[in-house]
Each structure stands twice: as structure tokens, then as C-alpha cells.
């Protein structure tokens, strides 16, 4: 028998791709101080929301209402996968590209991170965290982005790891397990760097886990603190859970979206997710704190300072994870939060007191919330086997996709989903790692509507509305060019006039938008970057678009040279 041919040692897949292999050392000087002043360097998009306040506003104005009609693709980066991946039919490209001095750091899905030349789109390095095919993913294989500081890129993986990568090479510096995949935990959010820590939240609220927010040391990966969003018996808030049994231990409340942060008050503002089981409230009588809440957390120790619960004893899957956008008005420190339940909440962010509550979507019939936050509930899906239809559906009047706030106009720009659903309670016994909804749910595929709506948060007045035939399911971006960028589920990427809502420009990207566009400047040229890759929990927020084409393209738009 002939000797075997020596096939050698397997090599990195990327070594066969033309990837450069390294990035310039731009991330070394990114630190807390720079992120504090992120908006003073508008050429960069240094942190998930662009700045700690969550406004998703850029002072860049090269692209403006006068010239946006000339906007054209400058480059496209694509990352279609090889081989089988978890959630192959439900992946979505949800990321917000981070840009530091000409280098873009962007996650894909399934544990991918890419460093790109932000001027040309050339791939500089890539990292892939191997993801078990059977990872519990309630709503698709997704990730929303990275944090960058101290020469490192921070990310979470679908199997609930927190990783620090070398920003120049993509090599792993440290790797910590943050969640229990056997309990149904996962992770999807973009981490947030605050001081010498990276802050992350858990996902998995549809599996009866116990939500938590964690801090890790930037350099060492040492665990600094963990705050559970559902209290144990005897802890404050535990009186809102049944005294007997272990429902608190399966209570959900996952903070699966990046917090905002007020450095003057030294408070993180984190939204929490639904209680579990989502629709079967009879097994968890009480308000179920701190699910469906905005919680203000001291980042130095994880201590909960105040909370505001939007949906006590939620029966409609109305997570309150949407961003809390920080803004000041008349000397007051406020935050604006647009909840899945169809109402917007303006709170005093020093103490959580309600300033104003107002509706932002046309069809709301689960109940009513008055201007001071008092709730009158009309529809409970609480009888076994009895279908109950309600608006908004569990995808919410607005889901995780983010608002933008322009300090030039004083308006909040909202991607609105106007979709109903029917829930039929079906009790099930809790078993670890198995979905724990407590209902069968069908979201309306017919009669969907959507909009980008502009609201004055100080009055609740809707100033303009750009209507769409299907829900708007992507974050919007506001710029000093008085533009609002918003992607559609059908693939169009739009620029609207921030003062009137007039559609000024549109480009068909070939796949629907469910991501967070960002903007930056390299070499004197402003770019607008947007990942286009339709997917995720489409059956929840836009079931009439369930068969929309998948994609894997990141577009960078600019004015012609």
C-alpha cells in the first residue's frame, strides 16, 4: 500500500481569502475619556449609539438635504457564510458599524467580527467564534455590534461568551463564559465600555432564565459585578413574585440591549425584557419586578438606584428593552423610551419620575396608559385555549431597533411597527432549556403598516409621519445635514428630510434592513454605512415579510468624489 500523501496541518479559513491580516493601531488610544466626548470627534462612531446618550445623532453635515440625491455606494462588503450555521433560515445582520480613525469594526451573526478599511471596504481581519448548531436562539442568529477601547474589540457570542480581541489582529485576548446555554441563555447585544469595564446583558427570556447585567474588567476580563433583574426571595422587589415556588428563578427580564449612560449622574439606563412565561401570567401573580422596566444602575457596583416598570404583570410580551435616549430640556435631565406597548415614556432620569406618556402608534387596544402612566388594561390573554387578539402584537409598536434624536430639531425619529397578533394561552410545565412562552401566538400577516414618525418629546405631538405599507424594523440615524436615514424590510434605504419627513433619496440594497446604520468621515469624505441582511424574528414583527430575501451585504454610501 502506498504511503499516504502528507496533507499537512489545517489552516485558518481566512488565510485563503485575501484578507490583509492586520489593522492599523487606531484603537489603542480609544478610552473612556474619548468615548465620553465621542460627539466631539464626529469623523468616528466610537460607541454603539454614537455617544453615551443614545441619540444616534451625528454632527456630520457634508451629506445634507441639498445634495443627498447624489448619494451613491462607495463600496460593499459581503460575508455570506460557508457550511451549516445555527439558525440558517433566521439569521439577520443587525449590527451597528463602529468606526475609529478609518477602521470599521462590525459584527456579523454566528460569532463573526470583521475589521474593515472604512474608506475602501477591504477586509483587514476577521474572527469567528464557533457557535453550536443547537444554541437556543428565540429569535434568530443575530448580534448588534462591538465596543472598542484600549486596543481591543469587545463582543458577545451566541453561546453567551464575552470576548476581548486584539483590535490589530483579531486574536482573542480573553474569553469569559457569561451565560448558561443549557439553561437557554444566549447573548446578542453590543457591549458598552464604561470607565475600566465592559458592560454586557444576557438574553434568553423566552426560555425561563433569570436576566442579568454584568461588568468585566477591560484588561483582564475579571468579573466585576453581576446584577440580576429578577430578585431572589427576600430581596427588594421579591414581593412582586409568588412567595411560594420558584417562578422568580425563571422570571426572565433579560437586558438584551446596550444601556445608555449619564456620566454626570453616573447611571446606566437599561431596559429589561418580558417576564417568563411570556403570556401565562397566572403562574406568576404580581407585578414581576424588574421585568419590562427601565432600571438605573450604578456602574461602579451594579447597584440598582431606581426603576420604572412600564408593563407590570406583562401578558403581551412587551419587553421594555428599547433604548432610553438621554436629552436635556429647560434644565431638566430627561430620557425618552418608546415601548413595545405602543406608548412613549419621557422620564426624569435623575429619579424615574414620569414627565409624560403618549401613544406613538395608531392601533393600541391591549389597554390604555394616561399621560401620567396610569394603566387601564382591556385585553388579557389569560383563559386557557381562548384566542385573544391585541394591538400592538408581541413585536411591539417599536421593537429593539433604535430611535434617533436630533438636537437641531428637538425631535425623536421612531421606526414604527403597526401590527396585531393573536395569543392563545397554553400552559406548559417548565423544563430548563425549552421555550417557555405559555401560549400559541400568531402575528397578523395581513393589515400590517409602518412609519417613520417624528415626535416632539416635550409635548408628545407627532410632527410628521412618513408612511410605509409594511412595518419599519430598522434603527434610524439622524445627522446635522438634517437627514434621517431609515431602511425598509423590502430593501430600500431611505433619506428623509428631518424637518418634514419628505423622502429625498432611496437605494435598493437587495435585502431588508434590520440593523443600525452609522456615519463617519475618512479623508474628508462622509460615509453612511448600513448592513443589509433581512431576518431575525420576522414572524413576530413583520410576518408578511417572512419570505423576504436574505442578504449579507454592508453598504457604505458617499457623495461622488
Amino acid at each position: 500500500m502506498a504511503e499516504y500523501v502528507d496533507a499537512g496541518q489545517a489552516v485558518n479559513w481566512a488565510s485563503l481569502s485575501g484578507v490583509a491580516g492586520s489593522a492599523p493601531p487606531v484603537a489603542r488610544t480609544v478610552d473612556y475619556e474619548r468615548i465620553l466626548r465621542a460627539r466631539s470627534e464626529p469623523q468616528n462612531w466610537l460607541t454603539y449609539f454614537g455617544a453615551y446618550d443614545g441619540q444616534r445623532y451625528s454632527p456630520l453635515e457634508q451629506i445634507n438635504t441639498d445634495n443627498v440625491r447624489r448619494l451613491t455606494p462607495a463600496w460593499v462588503f459581503q460575508c455570506g457564510p460557508a457550511g451549516l450555521q445555527a439558525g440558517g433560515s433566521t439569521y439577520a445582520w443587525e449590527s451597528a458599524p463602529i468606526v475609529v480613525d478609518g477602521v470599521m469594526y462590525v459584527t456579523g451573526w454566528d460569532g463573526w467580527v470583521f475589521a474593515l478599511d472604512a474608506q475602501t471596504g477591504r477586509e483587514l481581519w476577521r474572527y469567528h467564534h464557533a457557535t453550536p448548531y443547537d444554541t437556543s436562539l428565540c429569535c434568530g442568529n443575530v448580534n448588534r455590534g462591538v465596543a472598542v477601547a484600549h486596543g481591543k474589540v469587545y463582543m458577545v457570542s451566541p453561546n453567551a461568551h464575552v470576548l476581548a480581541l486584539d483590535a490589530e489582529t483579531g486574536q482573542c485576548v480573553w474569553d469569559r463564559t457569561n451565560g448558561d446555554v443549557r439553561a437557554g441563555e444566549s447573548a446578542t447585544l453590543a457591549p458598552l465600555v464604561v470607565k475600566n469595564m465592559v458592560i454586557v446583558g444576557s438574553a434568553g427570556g423566552e426560555f425561563g432564565v433569570r436576566g442579568h447585567l454584568d461588568a468585566y474588567d477591560l484588561e483582564t476580563g475579571d468579573h466585576v459585578w453581576r446584577t440580576y433583574t429578577v430578585p431572589k426571595p427576600g430581596e427588594p422587589g421579591s414581593e412582586t413574585w409568588p412567595a411560594d415556588g420558584e417562578q422568580w428563578a425563571r422570571g426572565g427580564g433579560n437586558p438584551w440591549i446596550t444601556p445608555t449612560y449619564d456620566p454626570d449622574l453616573n447611571l446606566l439606563y437599561t431596559g429589561t425584557g418580558n417576564p417568563a412565561p411570556d403570556f401565562d401570567g397566572e403562574v406568576r401573580p404580581g407585578d414581576n419586578l424588574y421585568t419590562d422596566s427601565c432600571i438605573a444602575v450604578n456602574p461602579d457596583n451594579g447597584q440598582l438606584v431606581w426603576h420604572y416598570q412600564h408593563n407590570p404583570h406583562d401578558l403581551w410580551d412587551y419587553d421594555s428593552i428599547s433604548e432610553n435616549t438621554l436629552f436635556d430640556a429647560d434644565g431638566r435631565k430627561l430620557l425618552a423610551h418608546f415601548n413595545k406597548n405602543g406608548y412613549a415614556y419621557v422620564l426624569d432620569r435623575t429619579n424615574g419620575a414620569v414627565e409624560r406618556v403618549f401613544p406613538f402608534v395608531d392601533r393600541i387596544d391591549w389597554g390604555e396608559v394616561d399621560a401620567k402612566g396610569q394603566i387601564q388594561v382591556y385585553k388579557y390573554p389569560d383563559k386557557e385555549g381562548e384566542p385573544v387578539h391585541f394591538y400592538p402584537g408581541p413585536g411591539g409598536g417599536k421593537e429593539w431597533t433604535h430611535n434617533a434624536y436630533s438636537p437641531r430639531t428637538g425631535l425623536v425619529y421612531v421606526p414604527v411597527q403597526d401590527v396585531g397578533a393573536t395569543a392563545t394561552r397554553r400552559r406548559r410545565e417548565f423544563k430548563e432549556g425549552i421555550p417557555y412562552w405559555g401560549a400559541g401566538v400568531q402575528v397578523d400577516a395581513e393589515g400590517m403598516a409602518g412609519a417613520v414618525s417624528a415626535f416632539d418629546p416635550l409635548t408628545g405631538r407627532e410632527v410628521w409621519r412618513w408612511r410605509n405599507e409594511v412595518p419599519m424594523c430598522a434603527s434610524v440615524l439622524a445627522t446635522a445635514g438634517d437627514l434621517v436615514f431609515a431602511g425598509e424590510p423590502t430593501g430600500e434605504f431611505n433619506a428623509l428630510n428631518a424637518r418634514t419627513g419628505e423622502l429625498l433619496w432611496q437605494f435598493q440594497c437587495g435585502s431588508g434592513h434590520h440593523s443600525s446604520p452609522t456615519t463617519y468621515n475618512v479623508g474628508g469624505r462622509q460615509y453612511v454605512a448600513v448592513p443589509s441582511g433581512w431576518g431575525g424574528w420576522i414572524e413576530g414583527f413583520a410576518p408578511g415579510m417572512l419570505a423576504g430575501t436574505h442578504g449579507a451585504a454592508l453598504f457604505a454610501f458617499a457623495l461622488p468624489d
Binding site: A10, Y127, H128, P132, A183, E246
Partner: protein, 154 residues
Amino acid sequence: MAVPTDERAAFLREVGLDRQNGAVLGRLLASGNVAKAEEGPDGRMHATIRIRPDELVFDPSVLVIPHGGDLDLELINDDLNTHCMLLPSNGDSQFIWLVNHSRGTASLNLDGPGYYWYGSPTGNDEGRGLTAAIVVLGEVPPEARLDRPAQPRP
């Protein structure tokens, strides 16, 4: 009528699902052997994966490792055609060409419980049979477990 699990292999053979161009055009995925990796004193795990002549299946087609960590593989292509392997590993997937009658190695890091597919991404090897799984047993580290009483599992 469903076939009991312990009669599955015989049934696959009877209907021709255990070979190429029998019942179907290729070879039904994950219909081959199951094996456990060995663990060395240093905690590294070892296994051999072969592609046998004309069988178009990785042997074993399900490799079970006792826990997350580092896995060293010897990879042997005994087939009369060229194949390759794209294997999951933290950092980047690992790729190797395996021409006819060749032998190579791969070192993987897989860090947690669950199962991971790999395959031969050339032509339609993946669909015709050369897709297989590495199963990682075990639990996440104690510090990653939720602070709650032990919960019932299925």
C-alpha cells in the same frame, strides 16, 4: 410505521440509505458511525476521522468529546476522490485539502456544550454525505451558571 432506534442501522441498509447512489443520490447525513474522542493526561482530546473508499461519509460521522477544550484530529482520506474539511474552531474555522489517499491533522478549540457541523466544501460533498458533527458534552463553568435552585430538565 416508525422504525425503532435499535433497528435503524438495519433499516438504513435495507432501503439503501447507507451508501452512495442507493436509495438517494448521495449518502444520508449523519447516518454513519458514532465514536468518542480520547482524552490525554493534559486534558487535550484526540480522535481520528476517516473518509472510507466510496462511502462518502466521515467516520465517525458523530464524534463525541467529553467537554469543551482543545481537540487534535488526525484526518485520513482513504477515498479515491479528493475531498476537504472545513472544521469549526474558535478564532477561525480550520481548512484542509485531502487529496486521494492523504493524511493530515487539525487542532480545534470548541468551548462549550452543543454540537457543531463540519463538512467538505467542494462540489456538493456536503449534500452528498460529507457533513458530520462534533458533539461537546458537559456544562458551562460554575461561575456562568444562574444563581437559582437546580431546575428540571427534559
